[in-house]
Each structure stands twice: as structure tokens, then as C-alpha cells.
Amino acid sequence: MTIEVRNVCKSFGAYQALDNVSLTVADGELMALLGPSGSGKTTLLRIIAGLDQPDSGEVLIHGQDLSKQAVRDRRVGFVFQHYSLFKNMSVFENVAFGLRVRPRQQRPSDAEIKRRVDELLGLVQLDPFAARYPAQLSGGQRQRVALARALAIEPKVLLLDEPFGALDARVRKELRRWVRKLHKEINVTSVFVTHDQEEALELADRIAIMNLGEIEQVATPSEAYDRPATQFVSEFLGFANRLTCHVENGIARFGDFSLPTEFDNYAGDAVAYVRPHEIGLNRANGHDIARATIDSIVALGPTARVDLAYGEQRLEVLVDRERLTELGLVVGDPCAITITRAHVFRGT
């Protein structure tokens, strides 16, 4: 089922948490809300769930306006950052909760509840732990119980708030792959909040990058990385060298470089972002356009990170280690550089 967020505003006192945010999540899609803390991503998720009320704007799930509907009637699966399992209930009872609290007419029989809960526990691979209490489980297991509990109500959409935030790195990676697989299996429209870009890039079909209460860009991970829509996205997603330059006649000038832009009638300051692998490195030969000095080399794995000094500007470059050995460059050497691609934005 689709989720449509239309012109949602929300402020807490003087603080504008969401400023006219619109977002559409397609049926069966796994969408990430990515942004630094305070960007409003959790607030947006809570508004979709109905746990917070927007000041204005509306939320539609499957074309139906839910603004006036109580949380308990929305059938939205929500997984909380700190699991929020019911400590006084066993794993089984936690998962069964959503079925047991249904109005009497819609409540499944005990046998049916048992069948459904067992099935869900099988899905999250926790069958042997049904009788355990949350305090007796590890973090990753608790997270999976929370997921099974949310899925028990057969939610229209699944919302996850920093689902892997409280887990250690190894478990996080495992669980991430597993969630990806699970999403393919059950194919429920899902939105998850994260501040970890690696997580968003790996897991999501599309990511919505948020900053200061606004959505800066909605795109597939590779699109957002290759064609960042704003300065913020360029800086937030991966690393990019930030070059201040000047634009005239559609050309941005940075030191010895002339970078093509899409601005025809703009003259003034601009900022260019260049990814570390978008800078070419060569031995200096006297006919170079631009020359830099090697400050340091960190060679780890198949690629090496080379830090350059180009005038006042520092540049980070990624090259294959084989290529670096071929060139025979060492720290202190002069070298020739080229810029293969840049994203130029107006302003400073």
C-alpha cells in the first residue's frame, strides 16, 4: 500500500521540526529517511504512524486520509528504536498482544493465535525462544521480537525508527541483510529512519535525505550519490572535496581548472563538489595544467587514499594501489591532477 505525505508541517514551540514536507512511498517499497539528528526524520515517521499529530498537512495510506484516525485503528506496524518490548510478557505473548487485544468479534481463536505467532516466530527465527522473557534475550533477538510483534497485526505499512541503532556493528550488519531479505519475502511497504548512510544505501530502494525539517532529495541510493541535488546531499552522502569557485559564462573556475556547469546566466560565487575518485593523479611532467604535492598516503586494501596540497586547498584522492605503485609516487612528490567530474552549486 502506498504512503502519501502531503505538505506536513510540525513545530515544537519555536522549533520547526517539519517544514512543508511531502513524500510518496510506492507500494512494496523500502524507503529510508536519512539525515543528521534534528533533521525531523523521526518526527515524520511518528506522524505517519499517528503517534504525533501534524500542525497542518495530511497523511494518506492507500489513498485514505488517516489524519482523524486514532493510532490503534491505523494498522501501522511500528518498531521502536529501543525495542519497547513488554517486559512482563513472554516472547510469545509479546507477539500475540496485537491479536489478543482485538475486539471480541475480530479476535482469532487461541489455536489460531498460536498458529500465527508460531509462524511469525519462525519467520524471525526465534521459535525456540517463545517462552523466554525479553530480559533473557540479546539485543538482536529483541529487535526481531519487536519486528514479529509489529508484523502480527498484518500492518498496512511497516515503520522502523533507527531499527539497528542500539546494536553492535556485527549484529547490525547481519540483521540488515536479514531485514532486506525479509522485506523481499513479505513485501510490505516500509519506511525506516536512520542516520547511518551506509545502512540507508545498502538497505533502501530509495532514500529521502532530510535536513532541518525539509526533504532535500528523494532518489535511489546510486542516484543520490552520483547526482546529489543539493550542497547538503553532496556533503552528507559519502565524502566529497569542497572547492569554492567562481562562475562566469557557464564555466566554474577553480585554480587552474575550468569546470563545466549548467548555469547559463549566472555569474558569481559557487561551490563545486568532487568525489575522491573523480580526481585523476599523474606524474608531473612539466606540461601539466595543475600541479599538487602529496601530503600523505594511506594504503589500505585495494585502494589508497592520497591527501594532496593544491595551493591552499587540501584534496582527498582515491586511487588503485596498483596504479599508485605504477606511478611510483611517494609522500612529498609533486604530481599532476585532473578533475573528471564535479557538481557545482550556486552560493557559498
Partner: protein
Amino acid sequence: MTAMTATAVKATPDAAQPPFRRWSVLPGFGPALGFTLAYLSLIVLIPLAALFLKAAQMDWASIWGVLANPRVFAAFRLTFLASAIAAAINCIFGLVIAWLLVRYRFWGRRIVDALVDLPFALPTAVAGVSLSALMAKNGWVGSFFAPLGIDIAYAPPGIVVALIFVGLPFVVRTVQPVLQDFEPELEEAAATLGADRWVTFIRITLPALAPAMLTGFALAFARAIGEYGSVIFIAGNRPGLTEIVPLLIVIKLEEFDYRGAAVIAVASLLISFALLIMINILQRRLGRHHDRG
């Protein structure tokens, strides 16, 4: 599937005995234990031992003679029943007050918060006098009940009112911090799963608060059993009808029947102790899964 094979956590709460002494950056187990034993002996154990010794000077037959008296029996029944009722009422309204103080921000919240402790500070005799004036047939509150044929002052309900007064702070102060630490996400989780407010309160919130409420109940109950000052002013103190155990002990003392007084005191102590242990066991069962993790 192999990537996520569930790794079993050692979940054996009973097998993991806590070590006798845990290493700490602030050592001092020896002095702390020594001080505790000496202090408790001086303040609690020695006086209680003296009490038991005094009572033990009588043989079983005469001990039974003191306790089997209908007047004594009536006093015991009244004291424990009124204390239990007062503690139960405090349990419910203490929860409401704690709820108000923790969950809402309103003008005068701090004043209400301070008012809760007042029963601790006020001399209980003053409370007894003012409550009996209020609850008497011609008092502000008592006059509403008098036409209905309900006596409050100088009758058992008056005793309950006085005991509610002295026990009020206990439940509020034990529930307040627990409620403060309660994750609102748990209630939100229940709501997203389709639970209405009542079900959420009964199945999620209340179980988390129950151990603290029970602690408050036990404290208010114990306090009420020993209460003397406020009750004797409002009770009317009619033998066999509105006479409480502490008053009975004072009466025995005034008659220079020290042994009789000691026997009644020991009996009261033992019953209280048994009841408090039962409450403690119940509390452990309730808090079983909350304490860990």
C-alpha cells in the same frame, strides 16, 4: 538462513549467584557491615529483644489469657482491618496523585508535590484533632454523612480516615520515580498494536507500577498499624468497638501491667512481620521480569 542462526543467551537467573563480595572502587565491606550490625543492634534489635524477654516472662497459659480476651481480639481485628483498608485506598489514590504529578505540567504542580509530604511533618495528634472536628456530626464533612446515618468520627470509618492521612505519602513517593522512568514508548507500542487506553493501562502500565504500588502499600500498612497519635483523637476509643492495639498497650502500661503490654506488642509485631513478608514475596513475583534486563 545460516547467517542469522539464533545464538542462545545464557539465561539462567537463578544459577548465577551474586558473589558474596563484589569488587568495587570504593572498598569498605568490613566497616560497613560492622557499623550496620552495631547500629541495628542498638536501635532495633536490643529494644525488640527486651520486649520479647519481657513477654517471655509469662507462661503460655497466661499469654493465651491476655490474647484470648474479646476486647484484645476486637482491637487486633480493628487495627489490621482499618490499616489494610486505609493502605488499599492510599494505593489507588496515591497512584492517581503520582500520575498527575509525573504525567502533567500544570500551574501549582510543585505546591501539590510539597503538600504530599505534609502528613509526615504534621504532628499526628494535630491531624487527629482537626480530622475529628471535620468529620464529627456537626463538622464540615461529617454533616453531609450524618443524615445518611453514617458516622465517621468516633467510629471505625474515622479511624480509616486518620490512617489514610498518615499513610498518604508512601504510595505517592514509591510510585512517582517508577512512573517517571516508565518508557512512554511502551504505551505507544500497545496503541500501534491496536490496544485501547484501558487495555494499555491494565496490561502494560499497571504491571510495571504494581511492584512499587505494593511497596507503598506495605509501608502505608505498617505505618498505619503502629499509628497512635491521630487515631486516638478521632476513634472515640470505646473498648471492643473503636479501640486500637497501640491504645490497648498504653492502657496496659497505665495499669502497670508491663508483661501484658509486652505480650500484646509482641503479638502485633509478629502478625505485622508475617504480613509484610507475604507482601514482599508477592512483590517479588510481580517484579520478576522487570528487575532483569
